[in-house]
């Protein structure tokens, strides 16, 4: 065990899987010699050579398109999109091709591509270096969507994604790439795609979230405990699709109050899905309306980013609202 950053967790998984399986290839803009603009692909080209870890021309549709072709021919490509904001030029390949190959071929052509992309606010990146497009992917049948919030999860979930048989959109919370540290086993770690993680147990309110919003939720939970005497459960969803519905319903049955925290715009965001699920399956347990704490329905701003991204204050106020609800 060593204490590592989330970024190192990602890098560990890539090193581990490339060592284990020579069908694993890593590529994307600046990932070779430059080792990625965030250095997530450190050491890969040095250790595995240019054939297995390389920088590509500037074409996201090309990156995903060739990854699909490689997967069809039996490789395990792990392409990187430099920022989630730049996956849109590849959206057609992801939505029309990657997600649908298995289905349209009656299972003859599975497409196990793992697309890594840093996402979210927190680096003063303005409109185009900050977005959280998870909802688009979750709305696309055929894709699994995974977002870690701890270094160990980053390693274990990414390794599982690479070993799986389905396409996975693996979104990395870049705000906490380096700020979140934790123990990461040196040995092989595999954390299954699917189950949520209960980051903290509580009895009065449940916060459902993922990625960079987990530390925000933890802080808000602590403040709520300190200032309001409220016991907050924090559920880190980790896999957005397929969703761990059982854990969500059980938690709501216990606490009776649910808040979903996401940084993407509120309307049709991922929080809407969780709220709908709870309304369908656990309405009788609710003691207050389900609340979505989210980004505003605006593009992601530069100077006023601090207002846009949910912070512990906004989550705290929501906790206060649901516990005071009559």
């Amino acid at each position: 065990m060593a204490t590592k950053t989330l970024l190192q967790g990602v890098n560990d998984a890539l090193l581990q899987e490339m060592t284990r399986d020579d069908r694993v290839l890593v590529f994307g803009e600046d990932v070779g010699l430059n080792e990625g603009v965030f250095r997530a692909t450190s050491e890969l080209q040095k250790r595995f050579g240019k054939q297995r870890a390389f920088s590509t021309p500037l074409t996201e549709t090309g990156i995903i398109g060739v990854a699909i072709g490689m997967a069809l021919y039996g490789l395990k490509p792990v392409p990187e999109i430099q920022f989630a904001d730049f996956m849109y030029p590849a959206f057609d390949q992801i939505v029309s091709e990657l997600a649908k190959f298995r289905y349209r071929s009656g299972g003859e052509y599975p497409c196990p591509v793992v697309v890594r992309m840093p996402y979210g606010g927190g680096i003063r990146g303005g409109l185009y270096h900050s977005q959280s497009p998870e909802a688009y992917f979750c709305h696309t049948p055929g894709l699994k969507v995974v977002i870690p919030s701890t270094p160990a999860d980053a390693k274990g979930l990414l390794a599982s994604a690479i070993r799986g048989d389905d396409p996975v959109i693996f979104m990395e919370p870049k705000k906490i790439y380096r700020s979140v540290k934790g123990e990461v086993p040196d040995d092989e770690v595999l954390i299954p795609i699917g189950p949520a993680r209960i980051a903290q147990t509580g009895t009065d309110v449940t916060l459902f979230s993922f990625g960079a919003m987990i530390p925000v939720c933890m802080e808000a939970a602590e403040k709520a405990h300190e200032k309001l005497g409220v016991s907050v459960e924090v559920v880190d969803l980790r896999t957005l699709y397929p969703l761990d519905e059982a854990t969500i319903i059980e938690s709501v049955q216990k606490t009776g109050r649910a808040i979903v925290v996401t940084e993407s715009p509120k309307t049709c965001g991922y929080g809407s899905e969780i709220a709908a699920l709870i309304a369908e399956r656990a309405l009788d347990s609710l003691e207050a309306p389900v609340v979505r704490v989210a980004g505003f329905d605006t593009p992601f701003p530069y100077t006023l980013e601090k207002l846009y991204v949910p912070d512990a204050l906004r989550v705290f106020l929501a906790i206060q609202d649901v516990v005071n609800y009559q």
Binding site: D30, N34, L58, L127, Y302, T303, L304, K306, A312, L313
Partner: protein, 376 residues
Amino acid sequence: MVTKTPKMTDPKMTDPKITEKPNPALPSGYSGQQLVDLYKGMALIRAFDERQLKLQRSGRIGFCVVSTGEEAVQVGVAAALEKQDWIFPTYRQHGMILQRGVSVTDMANQLYGNANDRCLGRQMPVHYSFKEINYVSLSSVIGTHLSHAVGAAMAAQYKGDDAVMVTFIGDGGTSSNDFHAALTFAGVQKAPVVFYIVNNHYAISHPVEEQCAAESLHLKGVGYGIPSIKIDGNDLLAVHQATQEALNRARAGEGPTLIECDTYRMGPHSSSDDPTRYRDAAEQEAANKACPIGRFEKQLESWGLWDDTQDKALWTELEQTMVDDTNLSENVGEPTWESLFDDVYAEVPPALARQRDEFMARESQFPRENEGEFPL
């Protein structure tokens, strides 16, 4: 490395070697004053870029992109344009804004994202928008603006206007989806547009040789039936003259032109980049020698238009102006919090109005002066 031999596919185009050898007689078609002004234009951009980097390194602005080494492209094109012509830039043509008369302070307001920034601090630094000089707002997404330039050109054509669109893309950006879409349309529509490939040899860390296997990037234009040339992009007058010809063609209804400007990115990709990771010092050193500013300054001297004393005075003055003018942007304060919700639509829709009103009524009561600090 900067290629000195231009590859020409259209012999009608100006010979870019025109200024290769310093000529004691002035180049034809230019007055001495014009030549000096062109030089000052490049110096202005360099001084602005140096100031940007200083502001960024000292933590006063969050991010910046400099265009060091690419001044000749910007000044050469800007000097040939007419007022009604539009610019669809990338993040590395901000020098053209200065050429079109916007003040350093107005630009610095954008870098600071302050209340005086006309885009209300919404975009990252260097993502300018200045409608009065036809400098069109840009996104960070590489390539998307190219087809916009073609559409605007088609609109000008449709309206019978005399306007030409000029648009820029890096060597890396020639691999993007919209590069191909734009050239496809422009060729077929004979749109009055000029495409510039600013080949500075790198897309962040990725060298142009690994970006495209073609012998030269301008050949991509040939493939779409667009007259295309490669010129020495560090040769100010070559850029200027090639642009004049392309604009003339466009105005005469002869359609688009593609001009590949061979240059070199002398600085980092952006303030976040460390070029020592991927290119060696010797290469950079050689490129510094090909710097378009040093080169043109020598030419001015050989034409008897400029000397060392004038040069020193110019740089000293520019440095001071940059400090003074950017300082004016420093203590302006941030845009109003309500402004976050404007301009998403022509009118704020009800759901967004509710988000705004709830936010202003409650959360805005709490100051957020120190990021990460819990205000309760």
